[in-house]
Amino acid sequence: MRKTTLAGLAAAMLLAAAGAPALAQDRPVLTVYTYDSFTADWGPGPAIEQAFEAQCACDLVWVGLDSSVGILTRLKLEGPAAKADIALGLDHFWSTEGARTGLFATHGQDTTSLDLPGGWQDAIFLPVDYGFFAFVYNKETLANPPASLTALVKDAKGPSVVIQDPRSSTPGMGLLVWMRSVFGEGAEAAWKTLSPRIVSATKDWSEAYGLFLEGEADMVLSYTTSPAYHRLAEKDGRFAAARFAEGHVMQIETAAKLKAAPNPELADRFLAFLLTDGFQDKIATGNWMYPVKLPATGLPEGFDAPLPADAVRAVDPARIDAARKGWTEEWLRALAR
């Protein structure tokens, strides 16, 4: 099916020369749909692939899609023809919508002893990692960050922010949920108050973070773990995540098995593998999130401990599913200056 062009041939030859493992046609293939940055060479994907292939006598193939919601779009487009065994990376805000598609089977894993604040009940989607949304700032240019979401919103002379569009970005959706959770019916008014200080609401996290690093805004919506990246990978200690008094909304990324998985047993083995060290110890500095089951080696040196339970703002995914469209429209109304 694949068009063989000269370039493709050359690529294959170069890859083989570079020592890439040859495709073994006789081994079963486990196909995992995920979001793109997970599979990048500097993401956790390659190391996880190696760890799983060492024990499964199979070939793990990642299919990196444009966003985590993109995984669901893709599966819906493919319908029963889907070749995926596992969908990895859909966050818990989308688990109700995901379950509604009827495409996913139950995971059958024991989730009672996870290191996940608030625990886990869902029988279809299995948590794999989590993080806390937070506004990240440069300590040198913003000496006194707001101490709460309310303070950030209410202070007309407060810092400027870059955020993401909730229609295309998961942190954007996270902030929508956070604002609703803190301000309730007053969220639209709160958005209006914040609006003049929103420099931009970008399509993806990348654009927003890029604008922030360019100095376009005082704060950027990201994760509490972002400063750890600068500290550990770049030896740059200027960045910090503001702690907000109302508590932080979590993002929990999940995995689920497709009902129509071509290799259901292999998929089950992969689900079990997700909660072992082979997967979990690559999350912190690979995906810059927290492992849901702390590996034996613990968190890497210099990686902040997760927020304590009292700093977490619990939200009900089922409620978010029902309200998502309305909240998005509210956001659009409030920001359409």
Binding site: M1, A7, A40
Partner: protein
Amino acid sequence: MAAGARPVSMGWRRWGIAGWLPGGAAALALVALYALAVAGLLGVAGGPGGFDPFDPYVLSILRFSLIQAGLSTLLSLALGAPLALALARRQFPGRDGLIKAMAIGFVTPVIVAVLGIVAVHGRAGWLNQGLGLIGLDGGTYLYGLPGILIAHVFFNAPLAARIFLQTLQAQPAAHWRLAAGLGMPPGAIFRLIDWPVLRREAPGIAALIFLLCFTSFATVLTLGGGPAAQTLEVAIYQALAFELDFQRALALSAVQIALCLLLTLGLSAFGTRPAEIDAPVAEIARPDRAAPATRLLDGVVFLIAAVILLPPALAILLRGLSLQGFSILADPNLLRATLGSLQVAIPAGLIALLIGFGLAWTARHARLSGHPHLARLPALIASIALVAPPFVLAAGLFAALVGKANPLALGPVLVPLVNGIMAAPFVFRLVGPALDRAGERHDRLCRGLGIRGLARLIWIDWPAIRRAVGMGLAIATAFSLGDFGVIALFGGQDFTTLPHLVYRLMGSYRLAEAGSTALVLLLLIGLLFWLLETLIAGRRHA
């Protein structure tokens, strides 16, 4: 068409198959692909349904889209046309290179260009730093309409200049001999020779730029600042990827296509066809070069263009040149992405050439054989290809084919196809006028001698259109090389491209490496331009 000197014996010749077939086949293929895509999306279990494509939000973004696209077009033409005139009048070292570089802005990945613009116009940008030195603060002026206009002018003014320049330089030599012989002042040369050309080409270029700005996506999202400044394309993406409401995505696409076609038709009513010219073209030193007035004018135009266009380009260059960023050069991903990009861009460029050329060929045939109204049809179809949202086309084709083929194998086939279709209008827009000129010049000769079809293409038309074909192919290929939208929908571990790698790096905090990767992409685009234009357009350049 058989009205020539000799009777035509073969039936297919009487029907002018060689004239109608290329465009007809291209049009049929496009219509079939669109129909397949629509059927594919309708076949997917539906969304909630029962929506109103004209709800207040959609109406408000439509209004904004019209304003920003209209202003972007006006500004791009206002800068592009004088720039083309100045370039037509002047010769200087590096001119050819500059002209080639001008098309690069247009195919720069949006995120790269946006960060270049931010580095100049942002809160902490060069302009504000400069103002700070003299005690002024420009503040944040970028986000909203200003940012969108700056970016769109950065992308499109050089494009407009290149297309204008191409036709300005295709003036018959007799014009210049006459102008020189009569001692025409520069004002008269402009009025009598340049202005008719600009006026003839402006509606087509305006339509192209308007449609590009109207459907602009990531630029508008990032620099627009928020949902007050957005385009219909964003709403379509929202319906398709976020609400998973494929019917709504289709309905909004239909609104977008219908609206854009109406606008294109409106603009084409202003277009004039060139008068029949029967004279050889030659590049001749224009007699208005020496006049002090044009020297001053051209100097001012170059200065304005340089102030607007150069700093962001310089910022992109500087961002790419960093030691940390260069570490990407040792990364095998870079090579893989480069090969992947070529694997998409080369077939996409050829598809664009086939479609665009086919449509232009048949449009000319229709005009020359006395069916001028039919000649509008190919232009209309080319416009549809430009404004049909690529996401919808790609997703629809994917949905239609996924039951019949391995979904993982579809990406490498659909990405070049969709990119090729989207780039076809550029080929059409560039090759069409050149083909028309050749037709008007040689049609009687060809009829008289009975030269048709392939023979006419090779012996008569090719020398006159090769430069336009080279540039069209270069732009179409580069456009596909720089595209990110479609590949993101398919992705895959073993299938990646350079823009894709740029986004991946940025998504993993690696901004320096992303900057250097972007520079590699731009170098590749530059190389491609040079290669295609040298090989196809011949040694003499625009």
